[in-house]
């Protein structure tokens, strides 16, 4: 498999949220605004990248029987790092994301990549894979965040779009929880209809 394919597979074809439907909890919970979605995506990408890296490095030394606990330990280390990092440098974002930052640790996307890819492939491939999957996750969250923020708040990254009058009475529904479910449902339906076929 070419390096480019490894990278793009996680980004598009096997996009965690929009195609594989994993990692849904943070995707729905933190996509109320572009900033939250993007921030969450980057945090997850960070964890994914470094856990892939470490696990790939250690892959020959990990005994098979205890590999899952070790993966979890590695992942939780990086989750703790990003947790404290955001708490220190991005307190607003950290507050908005709440419990979902430490919960990156149970994101099946990350453990899944460790098990299925990083523990079997070279370091460089593992980095590419981690980046691809992580950025795919970020992409999905950013798309959802964009749609929900524009419709539900009338802004993009806080800047009003569609004029002030729309900002005064936007579709608040979209930033509420039913809006999150609705948007991802529509996105998934559109992907099923237009994109899925071509990729296959």
């Amino acid at each position: 498999m070419s390096k480019w394919r490894i990278f793009t597979r996680g980004l598009v074809r096997d996009n965690a949220v929009l195609v594989l439907m994993i990692g849904l909890c943070p995707a729905l919970a933190t996509s109320g605004t572009v900033r939250d979605g993007f921030g969450m995506g980057l945090a997850a990408t960070f964890v994914l990248l470094f856990s892939n890296l470490i696990i790939s490095l250690l892959r020959k030394n990990i005994p098979n029987e205890v590999r899952i606990p070790i993966f979890i330990l590695v992942i939780s280390t990086f989750v703790t790092i990003i947790d404290y990092f955001m708490q220190a440098f991005q307190p607003d974002l950290y507050r908005a994301l709440g419990v979902f930052v430490p919960l990156i640790v149970v994101n099946c996307m990350i453990l899944g990549r460790a098990e299925a890819f990083a523990s079997k492939n070279s370091v460089f491939d593992a980095i590419l894979d981690g980046l691809g999957v992580g950025l795919g996750f970020t992409l999905a969250l950013t798309i959802m965040g964009t749609v929900r923020e524009i419709l539900g708040n009338g802004t993009f990254l806080g800047i009003p779009v569609f004029g002030e009058s729309f900002k005064k009475s936007p579709v608040i529904f979209m930033v509420l929880s039913p809006g999150a479910f609705l948007i991802i449902g529509i996105l998934k339906a559109l992907i099923n209809k237009y994109v899925r076929k071509e990729i296959r």
């Binding site: 606990p69 330990l73 939780s76």
Partner: protein, 194 residues
């Protein structure tokens, strides 16, 4: 400080774990194909969630806080829950065969259920006492069960409907969940809870 009854209702209906907090979505979509299965999953979640909230509360207050190891919270909690599930499974298999047969197949799935871990974190973040934490876990577990069973019944009906092929499966389930969440907005502000 809110009374335990309000904590229970808040966790059960107002801030429903699935529809409002977006935790436990994987089992919500994955294990809601039939009412019977959803009931088993719900029961297992109530059980494990309560146990997990006790144990993590104890670990946090007896070990992590006194020894200034709070930064290990994420790692210890997830490992605790994973081993707890294993232990519970073994224990049930040996001692409570009936319960094991009912919940057994759902227990391994629970390890990756972010709802359990999420609740243990929220217990700590909300500075709940053991009682309140238990009530919170129970309320959340019942909320999870109610919603997943209801959703399973809805999906059983959706299976019989002439739904457009590109909407079948996940998309229509999401839209159904969206309408469910919309209905649950009716509980918002109940007893002044938000």
């Amino acid at each position: 400080m809110k009374s335990p009854a309000l904590i229970f209702l808040g966790a059960f209906l107002v801030n429903n774990i699935i529809l409002m907090r977006f935790l436990g979505l994987c089992p919500f979509f994955g294990v809601s194909t039939a009412v019977k299965i959803a009931t088993g999953m719900g029961m297992a979640v109530i059980f494990v969630m309560t146990l997990a909230s006790w144990i993590t509360w104890a670990i946090y207050h007896a070990i992590l806080l006194p020894f200034d190891l709070v930064f290990l919270r994420t790692a210890t909690f997830i490992l605790t829950i994973a081993s707890l599930v294993q232990l519970v499974e073994m224990f049930l298999k040996k001692s409570y065969r009936v319960l094991y047969n009912a919940l057994g197949i759902y227990l391994p799935l629970i390890t990756t259920n972010c709802a359990i871990l999420g609740i243990t974190f929220l217990n700590i973040d909300n500075k709940f006492s053991l009682l309140n934490g238990t009530v919170f876990a129970l309320g959340t577990g019942f909320g999870f069960t109610l919603v997943i069973i209801t959703f399973a019944a809805i999906r059983e009906r959706l299976d019989l409907a002439p739904i457009n092929p590109s909407l079948k499966g996940y998309p229509i389930s999401f839209i159904a969940a969206s309408l469910m969440a919309l209905a649950f907005l009716g509980f918002s502000g109940l007893f002044g809870l938000t």
